[in-house]
């Protein structure tokens, strides 16, 4: 684990988790790997933040969990986006783009 670790901005974790789940249901470890993959290795999510985030989203009804066999036949808890989770993903994507736009403009202003 010698890769450079970037601290996740507060609030970006939920977006990344939702994004990671938008393709297919994944278990906790899978989500962590998928985030590393889609951020091209820049982000390594600690499980101490990932699991609380997942449980929070489950309470809010954005994701649903289901126990089933993993690819190598281990029982694992898979998370799946609900329709409200998909809606939330859209909202967070839009918010993020806005933040980036505003921040970029602010940083590049003279």
């Amino acid at each position: 684990m010698g890769e450079k670790r970037t601290d996740l901005l507060r609030g970006t974790l939920d977006l990344l988790v939702l994004k990671a789940l938008s393709l297919e249901p994944l278990h906790g470890v899978g989500i962590s790997r998928r985030i590393t993959q889609i951020t091209k290795g820049a982000f390594q999510v600690s499980f101490g933040s990932l699991f609380p985030s997942l449980h929070r989203m489950e309470e809010r009804g954005w994701v649903e969990a289901e126990w089933r066999a993993s690819e190598n036949n281990r029982r694992a808890k898979y998370y799946r986006l609900t329709s409200s989770g998909r809606a939330q993903l859209k909202v967070e994507e839009r918010n993020w783009k806005q933040v980036v736009k505003i921040m970029t403009a602010a940083v590049e202003s003279a």
């Binding site: 278990h27 699991f51 309470e59 993993s70 694992a76």
Partner: protein, 304 residues
């Protein structure tokens, strides 16, 4: 509203399941991670260790998740309570009726339970409470009633009845007790001399009345203190025995203190003190007085 209530209860009931699921989930994550490590070439035990390291401590993760769940739970609870109060505040009339109904219901139940507990559930703290009987008698054609007898009748019964091992009587009245320059009203039982011995009670301090004692007029005034009253009024002072006090203005000597936990034959009303029968209203008018006394008797297996 029902959905709110259901969700509130689900929060309570789900706690154990949540905990169990979290346990399983972390366990399976450790295994999944360990498998990855083994593919990278670690030995099974090293892979497991690496997996635990990457997970960052199973207990810590659990703690983080619990915080989320707890925070969520408290949020929900606060929201449910606010909702409940808002709903109640919207119809103050109905709320008042409900609150008063509940208050009265609980109050009445508590009072009834107090009486039932005293009279039926908790046995008298005496040697053989199941062998104490209250005499009851009825005239022809009239219903059976708790018996009250004159003292002379009681003497006759004692002489002629052989069914019971002993016959004692008592009468409850309020009296004024004055000691150390302070007077107060107390609940007193005026008792026959065998009141304590018939049911096998022993004194905490000094002595109790003796059979036959205090049933004739003109005897020196005596008093036995109830245990609680002794504690309350005299601070449990062991020096009270022999102390001179006034009962209804007449002198009496404290001869002893009753046993702990005993408060008279009627558990619903705790007696402060015990006085001889001859000080009570029944014998006030002399042995032929028509005032009545309640009689109870004990039929201990050993006849006397």
């Amino acid at each position: 509203m029902p959905a709110r209530i259901v969700s509130l209860f689900r929060n309570f009931l789900r706690k154990d399941t949540v905990e169990q699921t979290l346990d399983d989930e972390l366990q399976s994550s450790v295994e999944l991670l360990a498998e990855e490590k083994m593919k990278e070439g670690y030995s099974p035990s090293a892979a497991r260790r690496q997996a635990l390291i990457e997970l960052g401590g199973v207990e810590q993760v659990k703690e983080e998740v619990r915080d989320i769940r707890l925070g969520r739970f408290l949020d929900n609870l606060a929201r449910d309570l606010r909702f409940a109060f808002r709903t109640l505040a919207k119809s103050p009339g109905l709320t008042a009726v409900v609150v008063i109904t509940l208050a009265l219901g609980i109050g009445v139940n508590t009072a009834i339970f107090g009486i039932v507990n005293g009279m039926l559930l908790r046995p008298l703290p005496v040697r053989a409470p199941e062998q104490i009987m209250f005499l009851a008698a009825g005239q022809q054609g009239a219903p059976l009633q708790t018996y009250t007898v004159s003292y002379l009748d009681l003497v006759d019964y004692r002489n002629q009845v052989s069914t019971f091992s002993d016959l004692f009587a008592y009468e409850i009245a309020l009296a004024g007790l004055s000691a150390d320059g302070r007077a107060e009203e107390i609940a007193a039982s005026y008792v026959t001399g065998n009141y304590f011995s018939a049911v096998g009670l022993r004194p905490t301090l000094g002595r109790l009345f003796l059979p036959g004692e205090g049933e004739k007029p003109g005897e020196a005034g005596m008093i036995v203190l109830g245990y609680s009253y002794w504690q309350k009024r005299f601070g449990g002072d062991p020096g009270v025995v022999g102390k001179q006090i006034l009962v209804d203005g007449k002198p009496a000597v404290i001869v002893g203190v009753g046993p702990k936990g005993f408060g008279g034959m009627d558990s619903v009303l705790e007696m402060d003190v015990y006085l001889p029968l001859n000080r009570g209203p029944a014998l006030d008018k002399g042995p032929t007085g028509t005032a009545t006394i309640a009689a109870s008797d004990s039929c201990a297996p050993t006849a006397d």
